[in-house]
Symmetry: C2
Subunit: 110 residues, 2 copies
């Protein structure tokens, strides 16, 4: 296992997160659902698949890229697969309360 042989992806520093980018990343239904799923805990890429959806690998990968570049998730190599996780602490530090508000299910009632 050569050092640096794994394909590390770029992640913005917590301090560099941009609110509009985060909001944009979360403004897509599929990406929002991925985010909610990740709130339960880290997952491998394939398991991020939104409910009932069978997005092609490339599409799912693109959504993850959007979330990652906005700083919402972290995507690290793990053997043959990858672990995707929510950047909870970084988001909370930079935009306090945002994640909680977004993850909270909307009150029922028409």
């Amino acid at each position: 296992m050569r050092p640096g042989s794994t394909r590390e992806l770029a992640h913005p520093d917590a301090a560099d997160l941009v609110l509009t980018d985060v909001l944009f990343a979360l403004s897509d239904p599929a990406r929002l659902e991925i985010t909610r799923r990740l709130a339960e805990g880290p997952l491998e890429v394939a398991a991020c698949q939104p409910t009932g959806g069978d997005l092609p690998k490339s599409t799912l990968s693109h959504h993850l890229k959007t979330l990652r570049e906005a700083g919402v998730i972290r995507n690290v190599p793990h053997g043959r697969q990858r672990y995707v996780s929510l950047r909870r602490d970084d988001l909370e530090q930079r935009f306090p309360g945002l994640l909680a508000a977004v993850l909270r299910p909307a009150p029922a009632g028409e």
Copy 2:
């Protein structure tokens, strides 16, 4: 002053607000700034103009439309002009904490 002669614009009911639509509306820098400006209080359309920006009327109007259709703002006729205001209560009821998190200035610090 004929009844119904004023140009009323459509506004979604509070219960029908969609989170992803709200997030999308707020994900544009100009629209986010308009929203922040409105947090201080209602304004006429022209006064919503983002700082230093001199957006053409039509562009500004379009941004307001996006915010209005997402349910972020209300835009009502008022004489020759219009009053634009933040739908604070509706947003708070439907997505508790969201507006506060978005309006709060990001913590300083690199």
